[in-house]
């Protein structure tokens, strides 16, 4: 076992006959910020969802911290009982992984029936059985960190998109994750609100949080990432430090893509 906090090896996912992810391998060290870029439909969102076990991959190996999942392609040959057991094992591990990995989605999905504070403390109380006072205390600190002190009692419908995403980050952080995943966190936001979300991510980076971002915000990917993954058609085309990917890509497909953003 190497020292990486996240390790993905030969991960493959099919949907019916279509290959969505093909032989994906990479690893992330603690504290790194990784950007995944690529055209729409290239599989980057699915990859993120597989890391968080929201989607089940068919074959390959995934390790988050000390939790490992290995899957073979031969599920069809198993007896039904074995299959059921396999599925149960997966679900148990999936929940453990989700405890360690927070995720922020593209769409705004705060719980609309709860206040900002209640949104943040719900999972710690329900899942981790934290006492309410402690959860509230943590929540207040997190709200201050994402720049929303004093917003405790607002309801989601009273927030702007950028504020919603920041509350959602605080909500994930309240579970004390080791890795944060972001699926195009700013693409649903008005341009003037993008900065406030990205700034929170920069702050977290400086505090040593491990983060993986699927993004179209190329400037952010270039300036904040430790390394960048370019994907196309379900495959990783190129992995490298931002200046290499954006300025001297070694693969013509990467070159073709990043050129779109140079103007």
């Amino acid at each position: 076992m190497n020292s990486a906090i996240l390790e993905v090896r030969n991960l493959t996912k099919k949907k019916e006959q279509t290959v969505i992810l093909k032989d994906i391998s990479f690893s992330v060290q603690k504290g790194e910020l990784v950007s995944i870029i690529g055209r729409s439909g290239c599989g980057k969102t699915t990859l993120l969802r597989c890391i968080n076990c929201l989607d089940i991959f068919d074959k390959g190996y995934l390790r988050v911290s000390d939790i490992e999942i290995s899957r073979e392609n031969s599920v069809k040959n198993l007896s039904q009982r074995r299959e059921k057991k396999e599925e149960n094992d997966f679900n148990v591990k999936a929940r453990k992984i989700r405890h360690k990995v927070g995720i922020l989605f593209q769409t705004l999905n705060l719980f609309p029936h709860l206040t900002v504070l209640e949104n943040i403390i719900l999972a710690p109380i329900v899942v981790k059985k934290e006492p309410k006072e402690k959860a509230i205390e943590t929540a207040r600190i997190l709200l201050e960190k994402v720049g929303l002190k004093g917003f405790e009692n607002r309801y989601p419908y009273q927030l702007s998109g950028g504020q919603s995403q920041r509350v959602a980050i605080a909500r994930s952080l309240a579970m004390n994750p080791e890795i944060m995943l972001y699926d195009e966190p700013t693409s649903a936001l008005d341009p003037e609100l993008v900065g406030e979300v990205l700034n929170v991510m920069r702050d977290l980076d400086s505090e040593g949080m491990t983060q993986i971002v699927v993004t179209h915000a190329m400037n952010f990917a270039r300036s904040a990432s430790d390394f960048v993954i370019y994907m196309e058609a379900g495959e990783i085309v190129e992995i490298g430090p931002p200046n290499k990917i954006f300025d001297h890509p070694s693969d013509p497909r990467t070159e073709a893509y990043v050129r779109l953003f140079r103007e």
Partner: protein, 507 residues
């Protein structure tokens, strides 16, 4: 010959008196059933005190109880349900103008007749061309459904027979010109024409009807006891006294009891009825009357509200579970939920109520009328609420479930803390609307002996032949019961709309 036969019968009854008296000690309370909306003079609400049930059959039951030395207890049941109810065991005897017929004798035992009468033609006053059955050929004639009158009319042939659930409906139709005449049991004809002078009785008595008290087949001892009591009443003149006071003594009873003496008891109960119902009351008197009904109406309205409320709670709870099973239950359970919803929604509530009330006791589950009503209404509406919840769940964006799961919640926790609270907010308006419709559907439970608002309306309306005024009162009461809930639904609808709008603008 006849006298000897009667004497022999008398001795026989005296003999079984000993058996009977032993039995009487066990039978402390005689539970008797009738439908209190079966019109004067049978069993109806006292025009002056609506909470009192009166009628010549009430007097007969009381006289029988007196002979047997037992208490009486009245059980209200729909007329159609009187015989099935016997076998549910809610009461021991049914007495309510039940004609002794071969068909009925297959299901129950009848006592010896306590009254014999005939049917009589009723027409609008001034109609002169209808005097007998032969005059009815080619005309439209009303009769009570499944009655002797109907059979007589059909046997005659060539008559357009229109059947009704109650005689009063036939009279109203006649007044409106839909039928030319009605053939009804004589007591009804006598009482109705007496207070509605625009109608009159014409022609000779037709046919013969014997009324008996129905008891369960297995209750042979009770049957003997009742026969004994009726015989006593026939002999000591008490039965005649009752019939005289109701103006119901007729030539058939004279022959039946061999008593041709002139009547010397004044028909004071008949007169009481004529006086309190007959005269066309002034508007102010009407209002006074309605004010007098109010406590009875209010009590019934409370029962309707309480019943509907408990039924709705059950529907909401069961509906939620059914909806959850359907969405998240896996193959088998979700199939089960779908089957439940389709079967319940696809079959009439009325049939479901009958099944719960009359069929379940045969497999050993005997529910009280209230419980049966709550269960029937609640389980029926559960199917509808399940679908409401389901659409509520689907109205929640998929991201909500994913967000909850990705925070480490189990599916169950996600449903409980994230999806369910939102679903409930979404379904409050449609569920409240359903409650209002349940409130009105609750009128159906009168078929399983529940006395609720509609039943009380029917009783009072039939006692006074006043369907308009009491009908309006009843309608207004239903409206008042539902109004607060309409308000609640609207409030939540508005609040939800505001939040949705804000959400949209932001997106």
């Amino acid at each position: 010959m006849e006298k000897i036969l009667k004497a022999a019968l008398g001795i026989f009854f005296v003999c079984i008196l000993f058996v009977v008296s032993a039995f009487s000690k066990e039978l402390k309370v005689l539970r008797w059933a009738a439908d209190a909306e079966s019109n004067a003079p049978y069993i109806f609400q006292d025009p002056k005190i609506p909470s009192n049930i009166i009628g010549f059959e009430v007097d007969i039951v009381n006289a029988i109880a007196e002979v047997l030395g037992v208490q009486t207890q009245f059980v209200q049941n729909q007329w159609d349900g009187l015989i099935p109810g016997l076998y549910r065991g809610d009461y021991d005897i049914a007495i309510n103008g039940l004609e002794i017929t071969e068909d009925r004798k297959k299901e129950v035992n009848f006592t010896i007749p306590y009254y014999i009468t005939y049917v009589q033609l009723v027409v609008m006053k001034g109609v002169t061309n209808i005097q007998s059955l032969s005059d009815l050929v080619g005309r439209k004639v009303g009769a009570l459904k499944n009655s002797l009158a109907e059979r007589i009319l059909r046997a005659k042939g060539g008559i357009n027979v229109v059947t009704y659930e109650g005689e009063v409906n036939a009279f109203v139709d006649m007044k409106n010109g839909r039928i030319d005449a009605a053939l009804v049991d004589a007591p009804i004809a006598i009482y109705y024409t007496a207070v509605n002078p625009e109608f009159e009785i014409v022609g000779q008595p037709i046919g013969e009807i014997s009324y008996g008290i129905a008891v369960r087949k297995q209750d042979t001892l009770l049957l003997q006891e009742l026969n004994y009591a009726i015989d006593v009443l026939q002999r000591n003149g008490k039965l005649r006294e009752i019939l005289d006071s109701w103006n119901l003594w007729n030539y058939m009873m004279e022959t039946y009891l061999g008593d041709f003496s002139p009547t010397n008891v004044p028909p004071k109960k008949y007169q009481y009825f004529i006086e309190s119902v007959g005269k066309k009351s002034k508007f102010s008197e009407r209002i006074e009357l309605y004010v007098k009904f109010m406590p009875v109406f209010f009590e019934a309205a409370l029962i309707t509200l309480g019943l509907s409320f408990v039924a709705m709670l059950l529907a909401m709870f069961a509906g939620l579970i059914i909806a959850l099973l359907r969405i998240y239950g896996g193959k088998f359970l979700s199939w089960l939920a779908v089957a439940y919803i389709e079967i319940i929604r696809g079959t009439p509530l009325l049939i479901q109520l009958y099944l719960i009330f009359y069929a379940l006791p045969s497999v050993g589950i005997k529910l009280s009328p209230f419980l049966a009503a709550v269960l029937g209404l609640g389980l029926n509406y559960a199917a509808y609420e399940a679908e409401v919840y389901r659409s509520g769940f689907f109205a929640i964006p998929r991201g909500q479930m994913e967000a909850a799961i990705s925070l480490g919640m189990s599916k169950l926790q996600a449903i409980r803390y994230v999806l369910l609270p939102q679903t409930i907010r979404i379904v409050i308006p449609p569920v409240t609307n359903d409650f209002i419709s349940l409130l009105k559907d609750s009128s159906l439970v009168s078929v399983i002996t529940m006395i609720e608002l509609t039943k009380v309306y029917n009783q009072i309306a039939s006692a006074y032949y006043d369907y308009l005024g009491t009908g309006i009162i009843t309608a207004v009461l239903y409206l008042l019961l539902g109004l607060p809930f309409i308000r609640i639904a609207r409030y939540f609808e508005k609040r939800l709309a505001v939040e949705r709008k804000a959400q949209k603008v932001k997106e």
